[in-house]
Structure formats: structure tokens, C-alpha cells
């Protein structure tokens, strides 16, 4: 029983490392603005729909911890913003966007980036970090907008593939 639990934990940690590496791959290999896609939230939204479980908040915690290891911002900004944004996203999923559909995927992806970047910008502003303070407002909005756009597109494509090739999101079966 404990070995089985250990394997589950190792599987989750290994999966999170893989998602973090894929996120880096998009950052390094794709040109601007395609490299602004947030693979982590793309994965979290789809995983939330797939598992229908609040455990995704802790998966988000782990994922953002890995990203925190390479971030220029003070330790904790990315971790706090990412984890709390995922928690709020889960509440939205459970209480507002309660169905599994393309509309829900688009809405959740947009909400995820909005909540994450709002918390990220607010916490950085509180600490008056130069990465935010010296950045013009419209330039910041532009970067976030690209991130939202490509994350939504990526999530929709992945959801479409999952919908097409699996039965998990098939409405006929769920009914």
C-alpha cells in the first residue's frame, strides 16, 4: 500500500517536472509572441477538467515551485500567485463554469491567466520590484494579452484532441 502511494507521488512529481520542461521548451524554441504561451496553466485547466479534483491546486504548487527555481522575482511571488490563482480557478470551475465544453476551456484558460497575472503584478508592486515598476503599463498588458491568447488557443487544441480521441469528455457517456 505504501509502495503504491510512493509510486503515485513519484508519478506526479515526474509529471510536473516534465510539464515544467515542456514550458521551458516553448520559451526557448519558439519565437515571440508564441513563446509567451503558459504551458503550465494550459495543463492545469485540462487536468482540472479531466480529474475533477482539487488535487490540482497542489500540482500547481509543485509546478510553480519548479518555475520559481529559475525566476528572477523574489522567491515566493510566482509560487504564491500560481497556487492561489489555481485555487480560485478551481472554485470558478466548481461553481461557475461547471460543464466540460470548449466554452468552459476558453473561459477557464482566460480566467487562469487573468487571476495569475493580477496576483503576480500586485505582489510585485507591493515589493516595488524593478521588473514591474520600470515596465510601462501598456507593454505589460501586451505581454499578458499574448500569453492569454496563446494559452487559450493551446488549451482549446489540446481539449479538442482529447475530446476527439478519448471518451472522458463525451457528453453522451457522461449523461
Amino acid at each position: 500500500m505504501s509502495m503504491r502511494y510512493l509510486f503515485q507521488v513519484l508519478k506526479v512529481v515526474g509529471g510536473c517536472i516534465l510539464v515544467a520542461i515542456i514550458h521551458m521548451a516553448f520559451l526557448y524554441l519558439f519565437p515571440y509572441p508564441l513563446n509567451k504561451i503558459n504551458v503550465i496553466f494550459m495543463f492545469l485547466v485540462l487536468a482540472m477538467l479531466w480529474t475533477d479534483s482539487g488535487i490540482m491546486v497542489w500540482v500547481s504548487f509543485l509546478l510553480h515551485f519548479f518555475i520559481e527555481l529559475y525566476a528572477l522575482t523574489p522567491f515566493g511571488i510566482v509560487l504564491f500567485s500560481g497556487t492561489i490563482a489555481t485555487l480560485m480557478l478551481f472554485w470558478l470551475y466548481r461553481n461557475v463554469f461547471i460543464n466540460r465544453s470548449f466554452v468552459a476551456v476558453v473561459s477557464l484558460s482566460a480566467a487562469a491567466i487573468l487571476l495569475y497575472r493580477l496576483l503576480y503584478t500586485l505582489t510585485l508592486s507591493i515589493f516595488a520590484h524593478p521588473i514591474i515598476v520600470q515596465q510601462p503599463f501598456f507593454s505589460l498588458i501586451g505581454v499578458y494579452a499574448w500569453e492569454m491568447l496563446f494559452t487559450i488557443i493551446g488549451a482549446v487544441i489540446l481539449y479538442g484532441i482529447t475530446y476527439r480521441f478519448t471518451r472522458r469528455f463525451d457528453v453522451k457517456i457522461i449523461r
Binding site: 520559451l27 504548487f61 527555481l69 528572477l72 515566493g76 509560487l79 504564491f80 492561489i84
Partner: protein, 256 residues
Amino acid sequence: MISKRTVALGVSSVVVLMIITHFIGWLTPVEVFFRSLINPASGALYRTSVALSRTAAGSQGADCSEAVASCLVDKAELIRLRGENAELRAQLRFLSQTSYTSVGAEVIGRNIDPIGTTLIINRGMKAGISKNNPVIVGDGHLIGKIARADEDTSIVRLLNDNASRVAATMQNRDKSIGLVEGGYGLSIRMNFIPQNEVVNQGDAVITSGLEEGIPRGLVIGTVEVVEKTPQGPFQEAILTPAIDFDNLALVSVITH
């Protein structure tokens, strides 16, 4: 049924606890462990991105048959190795002529943050690197400063980053002193040059040595355009950097 407030408090507490353990230093072994797992992948991805950009620049219009594709891969690897060899020789030549203590490092990644122009290198505090150490390539060309130093990795803020500031001097008749600032990852400009001093296109800009930890004489770039306003006390110069920041593979950090 656990209330939302309790859940939010619980999650926030765990996050805060994690942050506290990081700043105490208890989390360091965990961070080092996970970086040791992710760094090789990050380095491989970064090298691939540099090789792709070099190959694309050198082989436009090439035929895409299988044999040629294989040759392109070998060519990319050869170009990468030649580049690294030349870079290491240049850095060795420069550092052997000075009394600086330095640490060589490999670039293993680029900025994770959405805003900011940074590089990730595979050396950190364990190798003697600390915040604000200058980072050079080639024959003493400054590319940036250490913005964050962890146990085994560091983050370099490049000169063209918005938050980058370096005290500099121009090699013109007046030996103008000013501040070199980055602009949104695209440009570098030297500000606060007195209006009455003569600045010409092509004048070289180097570090002034007036900033703690940054020695004098590290090359920053050359003047491309001079911008003056008649009423203002200062003029600005837009600089062309000496180095292409997109294809850096090996750097040296001056630690002393």
C-alpha cells in the same frame, strides 16, 4: 464540509511556510536536487535553440533532401563547437591579461519571467558568484550583471533589460561619463551625457569603474545615434552592443 476560507487559509499557510523555509535555508537541498534534474534538460533545450538560430542564419535556401538535412545537423554542431572554442580562447586571453578572479559558466536557459531579458547560467554561490558580479564574454565584452545567485545556478540580467543600469564612460575627446540603461530587451542607451560634450557615431563605450564590483574597461558597445534636445541639460546616445545577446553559450563571471 470545509469552508472556502479554511481551504484558502490552509493553502496560503503552506505557501508562506515554504517561503519561510527557503529564506531560512532549509529548502536549499531540495532546490539543488530539483535543479539537478531540470538543468540538463534546460541546457539541452537552450543549446538547441541557439543551434537552430545559427543554422537558420547560415543555411537559408538550402536544399532539404535527407542527406543535406543530416549534413545540416553536423554543420550546426560543428558551428556550435567552433564558436565555443573561439569564445573560450577569447575569454582565456582576456582574463590572463588581468588580475580578475573569474568563474566560467555555461548558459543553460533564458528568462522564465514574461518580462525581463535574462539568462540562466549553471554556476552559483557555491562557485563564489554573488549578486551584481559583472558577466563577460569574448575579449572583455560586458553582457550584464548577476541579478540572482542561488546555490548552483545564477540569473544574469542582460544589458538590454529594462532594469539594467551600468556606470559607463565614452572613449571620446571629453571622456564623457554617463549611465547605460537597457530598453525593453531591444536597445541599450547611454543617458546623462552632458549636453556640451561632443559625442560622435562610432565612439566606443566602456565601463567607467565608478560602480562597485564592476572594473573599468569592459566593453559595452559603440555609439549608433545621438539624441539631443535643445533645452535639456543632457544628451542620450543609442548604442550598438558589441555582442549578440541571442546566441550566448559560454560566459565568465568576474567575482573579484
